[in-house]
Symmetry: C2
Subunit: 391 residues, 2 copies
């Protein structure tokens, strides 16, 4: 199980800025990220394109997106397919790309994540996002993802006697890091006081606890690790040391323990086993901070903090770029932005930037091992990747 037939390396990365990109349509966003990744890898063609996307059908009236993009970037004829796993679509597409290379079915694969969420009314986008929940048992009752996360956050505050202010370190760290990322949607630091005074959107969640609705695209180029030296010649190679996906119920009320992300536990521990590593070996962790509460639950399930102690990890400063386990080093979902189907690829692109030493003002000193975790729904699909840089 999970013994890859061929190791896989990332030899090219590309991304667009994240924001309300009204001058670029869905196909243009995909084009921009894919062309940047191809240029970074020094390739002019590929065997396949896999696209992570959640909402192109609902919000742009465009299914069949991967084939459309393959043609639009000049690769008419190659294999193409779209992969969907709600907000984990990006990492799910990366796994398919890895399988294509590792299986021998392809040698050069492009994986892109693309999402366009701001061309529709906010209420339409919110309703479309709710399709990640259980339609018959959650959404039909009026649940949005904001409401579901608000219930989780309130339960956590009750269970562990935590005040709302204790969550401040997560958005404060994300915004601090976004300030150094030219592609971030909100590149400005915020204070604890600003967090405390932020408008509440679904109590106890305030606007600083919530990632934004936005547009963006990111892409990577994958090749067999043994051929990585032939591509992206002036770049340090990044190897995918582990990749694992796990699932849970869509509906939160069906879970054994709503405050324990079982799929995060499963996928992270499978990934540790594949790479022969422990949480202590991870130099940075791009986690899925769609809401502040998700950062805390993810850190606990992945073994960086005991249950109920994720908050203390934030308060200790361990999550900052100077800390023991830096998270959201380029701004995370909160401040870089969360174009849902693209997020999993942004996380991977940012870890590659850090491992290559290309993270600009946000560069960590000599990171060697980076982890990403992409979450679909309120914890129903969770995908973990561990990337290892070259010395």
């Amino acid at each position: 199980m999970n013994n890859l037939m061929r190791d896989v390396a990332i030899v090219g990365i590309g991304q667009t800025p994240v924001g309300e990109l009204w001058d670029r349509s869905l196909r243009h966003l995909g084009h921009d990220a894919i062309m940047a990744a191809m240029q970074d890898a020094g390739i002019e063609t590929a065997d396949a394109l896999f696209v992570g996307n959640m909402l192109s059908g609902e919000l742009a009236g465009q299914q069949h997106l991967a084939t459309l993009l393959a043609d639009f970037v000049g690769l008419r004829g190659i294999e193409a397919a779209k992969i969907e796993a709600a907000c984990a679509s990006g990492a799910a597409a990366l796994r398919v790309g890895m399988m294509a290379v590792a299986s021998g079915m392809a040698d050069v694969v492009i994986v892109a994540g693309v999402e366009k969420m701001t061309d529709t009314l906010p209420a339409e986008t919110t309703a479309a996002l709710a399709t990640a929940g259980d339609q018959e048992y959650e959404v039909a009752e009026g649940a949005t993802f904001l409401a579901l996360n608000a219930m989780l956050m309130r339960r956590y505050m009750h269970e562990y006697s935590v005040p709302h202010a204790a969550f401040a370190p997560f958005p404060v760290n994300a915004h601090q890091n976004a300030a150094g990322n030219p592609n971030a949607m909100f590149p400005m630091a915020i204070s604890d006081a600003r967090y405390a005074k932020a408008p509440v959107v679904a109590p106890p969640i305030n606007i600083m606890d919530s990632s934004p609705i936005c547009d963006g695209a990111a892409a990577v180029v994958l090749v067999p690790a043994e051929r990585a030296a032939d591509y992206g010649l002036d770049k340090r190679t990044v190897r995918i040391a582990a990749s694992a996906s796990a699932t849970d119920t869509l509906a939160i009320h069906d879970r054994r323990e709503p405050l324990f992300l079982e799929a995060a536990y499963l996928s992270s521990h499978k990934a540790y086993a594949q790479a022969g590593l422990t949480p202590a070996d991870i130099d940075l962790f791009e986690l899925h901070d769609a809401f502040s509460i998700m950062s805390v639950l993810s850190l606990e399930a992945c073994g960086f903090a005991a249950r109920g102690q994720g908050i203390a990890l934030g308060e200790s400063g361990a999550i900052t770029r100077d800390g023991k386990i830096p998270i959201t080093t380029m701004g995370g979902l909160k401040a870089r932005g969360h174009p849902v189907g693209a997020t999993g690829l942004y996380q991977v692109v940012e870890v590659v930037q850090q491992l290559r030493g290309e993270a600009g003002p946000n560069q960590l000193p000599h990171p060697h091992i980076g982890m990403t975790q992409n979450i679909g729904g309120s914890g129903a699909t969770i995908i973990t990747h561990i990337l290892v840089g070259q010395d």
Copy 2:
């Protein structure tokens, strides 16, 4: 290229009847097909579930479908993702399942195709299907798939001086075969006269040229070929000898030659090369007869007839169960039905039935090699599989 690290076998198949299944919801349809396939393979768990589906978001308000189904069939925790390539979603999901097994990332994989199209108004379903076309250059002008195929059929009739009546053998053969398939939506033979008198829906396409809007689900279980003997013990093993996907422009007006399915040519000829076969070796061909014209264009692009000669192949009787190259042996998209994201899996399940000798009254005498071809859009994504039975 395309040298699989591990060969892959199909050791379980399952399907639901196709029709207007108002008493089964999306999750129930998936459940029924998956449980049938698991029972057929004799398995109680799996490593991953990949689901081919096009329209669950638009028509049922349910994305994140694969994870929902994994939980609903009792496999909470396993990897799950949905694969979308318009009407080729089923075969695209099968390819991902193959990659998972061939790469060593999984040992036992379930691939299901699920679609529910009859719970919405026909106009809504038609609009949702149109998202497989180019939204900005075709759909915005009012094109539906019926309209696009009508243009292709009219052009073919003009180009090769073919009367409409010459297409009759395709729906007549499909309905003849559906009569022996208990899962078919329209299990009744039709005559040439009935074809000639059928109501026109978009000239020159009449209702007998068009596959129906319907619900259905089909599934297969994949394992490494070297372990196939451990599963489905009383069944004859079926090996996937070839799998290839190719793409073209979404918009028909961008193609070099609209009457030549370049992606069908590419994917079928890649598949022939992988399997070391030629069209003459194929004992049956489950092609994508969403419209009569598509059968003709597919037969020509795949080398069963010269260009402009697909019609003659139909008239010769070669496409019937007694002919040289039997097609749509269980009714095809026209008469078994076309629940879009499920179709690619129905085709594979039916070929497995034939290769195992389980096709009932429609059983071909000793078929050994079967081919399937699943088409997304009006020829934009085309995926070919070649399956080989045990002697």
